[in-house]
Every structure is written in structure tokens, then in C-alpha cells.
Amino acid sequence: MKVACQTIVWGTHLEDPIQTIETLYKLGYQGVELCQPPDVLPSASIFKDLLAAYDMSLVGLYGGRLESRCNYCGIFNPSYLAIEDWTEPDCQLAQDRGFTLALHPHMYKPTDCIQKAEIILKDHQNIKLLPDTAHLYVAGDDPLTVIQKYIDKIPAIHLKDWTPIYGRSFHRYAKGFVELGTGEINIKAVVDYLNKVDFDGWVVVEQDSSSYSPAMCVERAAKWLSANGVNIKPKDSVKIYPSGINSEIKKRKKSPRAITSKLIHKFYRTKFSDIYHFAEEFLSSLSDLYNCKLATLWEFSPGKNILGLLKIYPEELGSIEYPKIMTCDGSLSGDAIESQVVSSFNLMNVDIRKKFACQELLKELKLTKMISIPVLNTYNFNHVELVIDLFPKKNVKLPDKSEFEYISQHAADIYESLLEDRCQKVSSVINFATSECDTKNKFLSRILNIIKSELNCEAVTILLENESRTKLQIAASTGVRWRKDVDKADQWYEKGEGLTGTVWETCQPILTTHALKEPRYIGKSTDITTAFQEVCLIAPLRKIGGDIIGVVRCANKLSTQDRKFPNLFNENDLSIIDAVQRAMIPHLSLLLTEERRLHTLGRLVHELKMPLSAIRGATDFIVKEVKQKRWKFSYDFPSDLIAWHDLTRRLLVNVDYFRRGHEGLDIHLSNVLLLRHIFAPVCNQIRPYLKDKDFSNINITHDGFRDIPRLWIDRGQFLQVFFNLLSNSIKFSFDDPESFQVEIATKEVSNGYEIRFRDWGKGIPKGSEEAIFQEGIRYSDEEDVIGDGLGLWVVDQVIKLHGGTISVSNNQYPTEFLIWLPKKLSSPWVP
């Protein structure tokens, strides 16, 4: 078995062939398979001299059209030329010229599995097989079985490991190619088999991408092979390559194709790349290729009409630093630099995110030097456009539009892929966090740290709606230096209040470089308070259905250490926030529901303890007085005990509803008079609440009960309806016996019966008319009132079970609930 190395790990453009071959030679590789197409390689004669100088063989040639490969290899004697499909007449021509063709099953290519390869191999007996352990594995084949079956037809094997963590999709599977022995393919078994059968072909190490440098990567592969029974030994001797090769290689022309190849290899296929470094590399390549004085990359969001600077190149322009390149009238950087007359501005004083009407922007695009590329973030379908502005040196002409577009289109593809990757990564991290965080606070804390780290910013705050959706409250915060005199009430935001409240109301994000200068800014002590917190991103947190549940606020994007990138939030950051919310909201919703249920249960228990401790107190007195042989009690304790008992029972019914949930409630209908069987007993049961506030039941009046016939309803459940509504009226009244008043008016209407509960208490906040009927939801401004948030939920459930409806028909003065019951409830046939 002979060991060769594929050159893909150096990228699709082999920048330094001499160093590459020297490295492989020193590590003990005996051959090389070239993946770069001939048009980016040194001439065949030079390359032959180079290989000869290091006693190495050209094992095969992979990249480029078959015809051009045949032409290039004329002076070599490669073991094979790789093909991915049988294509007439190219393949026939190659065979006629004496080359051996080896079919290489490859994911997402015409021959992607061994079953398809077998058809071609049957039809064309002269074709050999070039199996790739990883591609076969990804396609679902067993590499060892395939190699065992076709060992006689195999001139070489691509040895490659793979991990499934990136999945098998077109865009991702190649990221899963990992160093030998670190994936899940049993490469050792393949090597053992090849040793066993004394395989005399080539094993070709092919590492598509690596988190190590190419030299380190091939060194690690050599070490792994050596440790696993393959004869590969590093060489100590130094070979001197022939003079002349170096200068000839350097003559190779830079080309747009070479640039795109380099970019694609570096950013599209590797694991640890990011948008900012891509922007830097992209601009430096363009600048180099087109001899530019300055190149800038902007990101334009058509939906928001915002143009934001992503990157400027070169950094070392001296006085022309990125904060100063954008002029007030929106003219672009190059003109400003060239003329030297356009004023420059400090970032703090100029809105670098100048708003452009889309048409105006397009007018600005002189396509010989600028181009706009649409980019679709396939993760969340945000649409942005990259705008490239090149400013050439004097007397240098920029290329024509088509060449520029060729590069730009590849750049857009890479940008899309990186954006998607970034979103996917955040999503994965959050998914991992969901499995670890079982409380809201713990989970939010993790989310804050993820956002802070991903957006590279100084402070992050998450604000969530309160239960009745009337206010927005700070739920978690990190990186904020709280002032000591902070007003706790400032932790609440109303709809439309300040920048935060505006985002909550409009459901649209705000990206700003000048928070303090924004007209909508208000100076809350918990808001953005210093000049250092002006650069802000405030974005809505939405459920998948679209309902907003809160807002996330990020302040002060930090520069990287070398200040290479502008410290402005941009569309990428919004995409990250989008990905964060998509991943976090389902789990957060579950945690919020759980927390609400726990709070509800806690309040329920607390409310129950009140009558229970009263019963204990009254009983204690009875016991004491009986011991003192007082047969006539000093106070009417028994009557009190009955009232407390009734109250306890009503509260327990709510507990029972809570326990049983929406389903499983049975209705036991009886023929009921509302006044006698419902209203009168409830008036007794609420006595403790009335007495607690010094109220009198005289102020609870009714009208029209006698106009309603007997109804077939569940008496127990309707007692609960009346009790819950009346006890709410008492709880949410002003503590003033004079002003306490409740009216219950009933009447028959054409299609049923109406019952109106009116009181003149604190009322129901606008906007929470529906929310208050949900389980565990309490009125927003009610911290001073005990209650469990179940009363109206129970009322709603009971009324619905009877085919009726309940709604808030007036919020305050009076607060009015309108119950409608269907006429059929009075029918004798209902049971």
C-alpha cells in the first residue's frame, strides 16, 4: 500500500505548490492527487520537475474538465483520472488516449452511491473504482464492504472520516469531514483489511477542510496512519527544488476564479468562519485584484431602508478611518477620499446608518464600481443586499460588470451560507440550553449570555409582557451596571413608551447609533442612560405564530480587539436574534406556563390559608370558652365558622377546577331559580370578604331575576360563577364602604338570557379584556389584592360548558361583565 495526499486541503487554488510538495515529502507521502484544475496549476512540465525533485508521483488528477486534464497529464503517467459519471465522448476519448478512468461515487453528484456506480462499472468494464470512505458512508453504503467487493478494480482509495453533527444536507455534509480517526467511520477496519490483502494501490488522504492548518492537518493524518499500521515514515533529508520553478510559479496570473476558489474553500467549507472575516478577506482580495485604493462592503436592508457598513479595506488608511467615511449627504467613501474636500465626521456625530430610499440607492450604484447583491438568509428568510464599493487607484480601470458579478455572486453564496451557519449554531446552542435549564430564570440567564457572546455586545436585557399583556417588564439582564438610585418602577414599560415600548407596540426592530438622540427615547433609569450605551439593537420577541411576547435589548456592540470591524449592530445581528427567538420561544413558553401555574397554585394555597387560620382561631376561642364552662359564647363563633367553611368550600372548588383542568368537568343539571338557588346563598358565602372590608351586602342589588324562568344548569357550578364574580367585585373595590356598589341585572333577550354584573371598583385595564379569562391571569395593577387568577377562568369554563358566553362589556365605571346564556337552558327537555 502506497500513501498519497490530495491537495484539496490547500484549497481549490494551490497557492504555493513548492511548499505543498515539500511538506508532503517530509511527512513521508509518496504521491499526490491534484484536485485543482489545470488552469490554476503551474505548467505540466514545471510540476513534473517539482515532483521529480521530491521523488513523488502524480497519482491522479481530479479537478477540471476531463479533456484539459488529459492534456495536462500527457507527460505524466498517472494511475487514474477520476470521473464522477460516464460521459460520452470525453470518457471514451480519455480511454483512447491511454488514461485509466476511475469512477468516484460522490455525494450530490450523478453517481452518489455504489448501486449507481455498479451500473456504470458493468457497462464499462475498463473503468476502475475510486471509492471514498466518507462519501460512501454518507450515502448509506458500508465502505469496507464496497472495498472488499471491488478490491480488484480499485487503483486508489480516498481515506476520509466523517461526523454526522452537521447533517447530510447539500450545504452542510462537507463540514462533517474530519481528521482520520475522529469521525464515526471505521477507518481502522479499512486499513487493516488493505494490509491483510496486501493492497498494492494508493490510499489517498483527502481532507476537504480542517480546523488545523493544511500542513498540520496532513501531518496528523500521517501520524494516524503510521499509528494504525500503515507504512509512512517522515524524512529527515532536505531536497532542493530546481531553480526557476519558483519564479515560474509566481508568474501565474491572479484571476477572479482564483479569488472565488480561495474564498469558497476558506469560508464555505470550513467550520470556524464568520461573516466579518469573510468580509475582510473578500475586500482584500478584490482590492488586490483590481488595484484599489479603498474597498467597502455595506449591508442594505430594503425592508428597513438602512445602509450599514460591514467592512472597509484597507484599515491602515491613516486619517481615513472607518468612522469618518460616510458623509452627511450619503455620497460614498471613495469620492470623499479622492476629492479630499468632503468633510469627514466622527461616528458619534454622524448617523452612519443613513436611511436610503431604495431607488435613490440604486441610482447611486455605478455598476462599474459598485454592485448590489441580493442575499437571502435561508434560515429565517431575511432579505438583505450586499453593496460593494470599489475605489480604484488613479488610472486603473475596473473590470466589466460581468466579471465583477461573477465574483459577487459567489460572495453572496458564501455570505448566505455563513449567515445560515451562524443562525444554525445559535439555534443548536439554545437547543442544548433547553435540555439543561428547567427554570425560567436559569434559561433566560443562558439566553442572555448566548446573545451577548454572539452579538459581541456589552449589555443585553430581555423584557417580557406581564400576564395581562398590558406592560412590559424586565425579566433578565446582563452586563448592565445598575445605578444605585434606580427607580424600581422604571422596570415597567407601557406600549409605545420610549424605544423599548415602541418596539413592543410596532413589533419592528430598532437599530440605532444614537439612542439618546432618537425622538422616541425617554430617560428611564433602566433605559439606555449613558453615551456609551447609544449603539443599540432593540428587537421584538415573537412566538412562531407571530404574537409578540417581549423585547430584547442589546447595547454597545463591542469592537474586536484590533478594531477591524465597525461597532454597529447590523442585519446579521437581527438574524441572530431571529434565530435565538425561534429556538428559545417554545421552551420559554413552556417555562412561563409552568411558572404561572406554580404561582397560581401558590396564591391558591395562600388564599386557602386565610379561612383555615380563621377557623383555627375561632375554634380556639370556642375550646377555651367551653373549658371555662361558658355555654353562651362571648361572640357568635359558630356562625363565623359556617361562613368560613362556605368560603373554604368555594375556594376548594376553584382548586378542584385547577386540578382537573379544562376537561373532565361533569355537569349535573337541576332546575334552578337564579335568585333563590344561586344569588341568595352566594351572598352569604361572601360574607367574610364583605366584613373584611367593612362592606355591607345592602350595596349588592339585583334586578330582573324574576323575569327569568327556571334554568336547567349545574347549580354548584353557577354558585361558583356568582361567587367568583362577586368576590372579585369586593377584592377589586376601592377600600371605601360608601362607594362600594354591585348591581346584577338580568333580562330575557330574543335568543337567550343576559346577566350583567356591574361594579364601581378599580376596573379592568384596556387591552386585557380577553386575557383575564385565561388560567392564572390576574389584573395587571393588582399587587395589593390577593387572588389566584383562577376565578374568571373558572367562570368562563362554566359558562362555556352551558353553551353561553361571558365578556367584558365595559372596563370601568362601571366595570361590567356580560353573561349570555342560550334560551334552550329553560327548556324542559334539556336534561
Partner: protein
């Protein structure tokens, strides 16, 4: 006659405690809100009580409204306790609570704080507890 300031918003359930305290010959001042309690204690015209009894779970009132430490009224007593301590550092304070968690929490903060669980102690137990606390002070 010893003066006791009682701070509890629940009037009806507390009436048995009040009856027991009256029978035990204490002078009672009852406030139902945190604001009224602080106003009473900071008013120069009012004489300092000999003992203060406060409920752990109290409506926040204007004083603690929106304060997250108040936990929607579930922990108001802890904040009020500290504020009263700030006004009268030596005033004996008894905390009443229906919550076992609150009882434990206060005991962790300071094992010497007199805390009484209402549900497990009838009115006459409170009278005995007050006697103990006053004797120690």
C-alpha cells in the same frame, strides 16, 4: 399597658388574634398597609410601640410597588422588617406568616428573628409568644 402595632391587611381572619390580644390586656394599633405602618412609625407625634407584629405576605402598597424583591407581595414583610429596623433598631418585631418557606427563609437570614406560623398557632399561642419576646427584649 404594652402597646402593640399590628400590620396585616386581613381584618376578618385576624380578628380572633385581636380579641385574644385585647383579652391579654394589650393596647393595639392596627394598620392594614405598609404605607400606613411606616407613616405611623415615622410620625414624631406617635409614641414608639413596645412591639410590632407584621404579616410576611402583605400588599406592597406604594412603598414597594413594582419592586421585584417584593415578589408581588409574597415577600413584602421582609422588606418592611428591614425598613422598620432602620427606624427603630431595637424594637421587637414578630413576623407572622402562613408560608413555611417564608418561615424558613427568615430563619436562615437571622435565626433570632421571632417568626410565627399562623396556621400552626392559634390566637392564644400568639399571646404566649408575645410574652416571651417582650421578656427577652
Amino acid at each position: 399597658m404594652k402597646r402593640i402595632l399590628l400590620i396585616d391587611e386581613e381584618k376578618e381572619p385576624m380578628k380572633y388574634y385581636l380579641m385574644a390580644l385585647k383579652q391579654a390586656n394589650y393596647e393595639l394599633i392596627v394598620t392594614r398597609t405598609t404605607d400606613a405602618a411606616i407613616k405611623f412609625l415615622t410620625d414624631d407625634n406617635n409614641q414608639c410601640p413596645d412591639l410590632c407584629i407584621l404579616d410576611y405576605m402583605l400588599p406592597p402598597g406604594n412603598r414597594y410597588k413594582g419592586n421585584p424583591d417584593c415578589n408581588q407581595g409574597m415577600s413584602t414583610g421582609r422588606l418592611l422588617y428591614n425598613d422598620i429596623r432602620g427606624i427603630y433598631p431595637d424594637l421587637p418585631i414578630i413576623i407572622l406568616t402562613n408560608s413555611r418557606d417564608a418561615f424558613k427563609e427568615m430563619k436562615i437570614i437571622n435565626p433570632n428573628i421571632p417568626v410565627l406560623q399562623k396556621i400552626e398557632n392559634a390566637p392564644f399561642d400568639l399571646v404566649e409568644f408575645i410574652k416571651e419576646v417582650l421578656a427577652k427584649s
